[in-house]
């Protein structure tokens, strides 16, 4: 479970929004909405451990009963998806996915994992493909697969559908939500478009501002 307790973020001594508490159960996808500049993405940065120095964070964030605020980003076990897929252009699709797998895993096992993941995403045979040759939707799916192959305990979605056209958006949204639910991990989605938000908790940060 991902738990936020009286979380507040300050810039120059001013809070971006009022104190926020939230509990997200495994398999649940909570949504945070609000207009640009209300602190949605900043909140995600704070949870994953990537908060810029200009901000000050108060409150507590715990994941599966362990406090994570003191941990560096790489030790929090939280995956993140941005609106840009950020696939690594110097690696092919299989290498992008292998990057997320643990070093202890044997090569044949890694290969099998990647094959299975690509098959589930409808991308069988894409192992050797250059990311540049993929469509926006295909890239978005690979990006999600990469995050999930690292076996995170929670995932954060920072407006991941905002750059997709409407038809693709519907398709990718259901793929992302179904995959996250099947992994049974908590997820927190940030968006300014209510159509992107699944059923469940929706917090409007704009209403929380001071």
């Amino acid at each position: 479970m991902l738990k936020l307790e009286t979380v507040q973020i300050y810039i120059d001594g001013r809070p971006l929004f009022s104190s926020l508490s939230l509990e997200i159960k495994p398999g649940e996808i909570a949504s945070i909405m609000g207009p640009s500049g209300c602190g949605k993405s900043t909140l995600l940065s704070a949870i994953c451990g990537n908060l810029a120095d200009v901000f000050v964070l108060s409150g507590d964030v715990s994941l599966n009963e362990r406090t994570i605020l003191a941990l560096p980003m790489e030790k929090r076990r939280i995956g993140i998806l941005f609106q840009d897929d950020l696939l690594f252009p110097h690696m092919n699709i299989a290498e992008n996915l292998a990057f997320a797998l643990p070093s202890e895993m044997e090569k044949p096992e890694k290969k099998e994992k990647i094959r299975e993941a690509l098959m589930k995403a409808g991308l069988s045979g894409f192992e050797k493909r250059d990311p540049e040759t993929l469509s926006g939707g295909q890239r978005a799916r690979v990006s999600l697969l990469r995050s999930l192959l690292a076996e995170p305990e929670a995932i954060l979605l920072d407006e991941p559908f905002s750059k997709l056209d409407q038809e693709l958006k519907d398709q990718i949204r259901s793929f992302v939500f179904e995959t996250i639910r099947s992994m049974d991990i908590p997820a927190l989605l940030v968006s300014h478009d209510h159509r992107d938000c699944p059923q469940g908790q929706i917090i409007n940060l704009a209403n929380q501002g001071e």
Binding site: G49, N50, F82, L86, A98
Partner: protein
């Protein structure tokens, strides 16, 4: 079109040099092609040592500067040491190569400031030791100076390239997958960065293998590097040596081309070897010591540069300074007063040539970039990779490999030794740097602002002059300042194309450094340093003052 016109000069220069390299120079009575000058070149006394020193200093400097640059990004990016480097970067770049080399010589020579600091207490020396620390036979000291000077250039180029990589979020993705920051840098960011600075690295390689002024100051002497040897042959009163020089210049070009090929092979090899390492899933690094070393490197880079400027300042105000005293026994402003009286001509030549060349370069570059926008509006896409190669070409071909050919052509056309030819020759090297510094910012300007302005004032020219140009004043002036500093540093074009009729502070400083009084040399080196620095400061403060009431323009 501008680029093609400029590049034609290089082609003419190269062809002219190549024909002379094969013994054809009818103007001095050599009417038949032959390979005799190549045979003479390879059997010239000291040829092998000269070639080895050239390769050690040139290839060594390039590889070390590149490795150290990546090292700094991987281990120190955005820590407190990086902030120091970031603040020092502009002044580091503004210090001309020759002034830096002169200062480094006064710092690290056996009678230099470093040994004075340690003597006699720690070393016991009361007279300078008989060490060949500088001007060593293998070109190590030359390599070291070039490494220190090229790291800031590669950092600048890398910072520009990093703007096209989403570093912040790539780091976030990598770290969210469990990788430490250093590992993300090495496995994700740097492999994306390298292709974007490859051409800049090749330019450093071409420069390092063919540099003359720095090699005259801190390079080996007997025999000197190939470029210095060729330079001497070109200036030999016996015309036959010029053909030998042309063969040597062509050899330097071949050396550069084959070294670039070698770098490509090295790149392919590294990719092959490290491909599986990139995806082995190893998330922790054992590089803690490297981090300390990287921070130390930042301090060394900034420290040496400050030391270089300080030692020049101290020497310029010295009257009497004996070894091993740390500071002069008596001080004087005599050499500054003498310098100011004597340096008028060279300063005027430097400033007039530099300002004209950089002004023309800015106009031509803006013209090229506006043409790009016009083509885009007509639905024609420009091939930016091809353009980038064309822009880099004058920097990838060693100056010494084509300037002699250009000079010969200008002599035939009776255009040598005139000021406009000198400006044109500087423009050849100023233009690429102005394009590289202005291009990315100019292209990122939101053209819709100009479109709105056109609808309001109904004239594209008015919209350009009243809206676009003022908005881009800061980058335009800054790129002009970069162009000016490039012009100030030109040594070979001034000597070859100016036919020795135009002294600049760079030619004077280099010529004086070979045997003159350290105090006079320091004054000239400081003039060489201060001239571009003043222009840089003006480029920074003019827009700040002009837009002092506009908060949005105070970035």
């Amino acid at each position: 079109m501008t680029l093609v016109c400029f590049l034609s000069a290089i082609v003419i220069g190269l062809i002219s040099t190549w024909t002379q390299a094969f013994g054809y120079m009818p103007s001095i009575g050599f009417n038949h092609f032959s390979v005799i000058h190549w045979i003479r070149l390879f059997s010239y006394p000291g040829f092998n040592s000269s070639l080895i020193a050239t390769m050690i200093s040139g290839i060594g400097a390039t590889l070390l500067a590149f490795i150290f640059t990546f090292f700094l990004f991987a281990f120190s990016y955005h820590n407190q040491f990086w902030r120091l480097l970031d603040q020092a970067l502009a002044p580091l770049l503004a210090v001309p190569h020759a002034a830096f080399a002169i200062g480094f010589l006064f710092l690290a020579a056996p009678s230099g400031w470093v040994l004075r600091l340690l003597s006699p207490g720690l070393t016991g020396f009361v007279v300078p030791p008989d060490w060949s620390l500088m001007k060593d036979a293998y070109g190590i000291s030359l390599m070291l100076v070039m490494v220190l000077k090229e790291i800031p250039f590669l950092i600048l180029m890398s910072l520009g390239a990093l703007g096209r990589i989403d570093v912040r979020r790539s780091l976030a993705v990598g770290r969210s997958l469990g990788y430490e920051t250093v590992q993300v840098w090495i496995k994700i960011i740097l492999p994306q960065l390298y292709p974007k600075i490859r051409l800049a690295l090749f330019a450093v390689l071409a420069y390092s293998l063919s540099v003359v002024d720095l090699a005259l100051l801190v390079g080996p002497t007997a025999p000197p590097t190939m470029a210095v040897q060729v330079f001497r042959w070109f200036n030999d009163p016996d015309f036959e040596y010029r053909l030998l020089g042309a063969a040597g210049a062509t050899l330097i070009l071949l050396l550069v081309v084959s070294s670039i090929g070698l770098l490509y092979l090295l790149e392919a090899g590294v990719k092959l070897i490290f491909r599986s390492w990139l995806i082995n899933g190893q998330r922790r690094s054992r590089f803690f010591l490297f981090s300390t070393l990287s921070n130390f490197l930042v301090l060394a880079l900034v420290g040496v540069s400050i030391g270089v400027i300080l030692v020049l300042l101290v020497w310029s105000f010295t009257w009497r300074w004996q070894f091993p005293d740390f500071l002069p026994a008596t001080w004087s402003t005599q050499f500054w007063r003498n310098g100011v009286l004597q340096i008028g001509g060279p300063i005027w030549n430097t400033i007039s040539t530099g300002i004209t060349a950089s002004f023309l370069a800015v106009i031509l570059v803006i013209g090229c970039l506006e043409n790009e926008i016009l083509m885009l509006k007509r639905g024609l896409k420009t091939n930016t990779t091809k353009i980038l190669w064309l822009i880099y070409l004058p920097l990838l071909i060693p100056q010494i490999a084509f300037l002699f050919g250009v000079q010969v052509t200008l002599v035939i056309l009776r255009l040598d030794g005139i000021w406009l030819s000198l400006v044109w020759s500087h423009l050849l090297f100023v233009l690429p740097y102005v394009f590289l510094s202005l291009g990315p910012i100019y292209r990122s300007y939101d053209q819709r602002i100009t479109d709105v302005a056109v609808t309001l004032c109904r004239s594209p020219w008015q919209a350009f002059l009243k809206v676009k140009l003022p908005m881009l004043m800061r980058p335009v002036l800054f790129s002009a300042a970069i162009g000016f500093s490039v012009s100030v540093a030109q040594y070979l074009p001034t000597l070859f194309i100016g036919a020795g009729r135009f002294d600049t502070i760079t030619t004077e400083a280099v010529n004086l450094a070979s045997g003159s009084d350290r105090r006079i040399v320091s004054v000239y080196a400081l003039f060489q340093l201060l001239t571009p620095l003043m222009v840089f400061l003006s480029a920074l403060f003019i827009p700040r003052f002009y837009f002092r009431q506009r908060k949005g323009m105070q970035i």
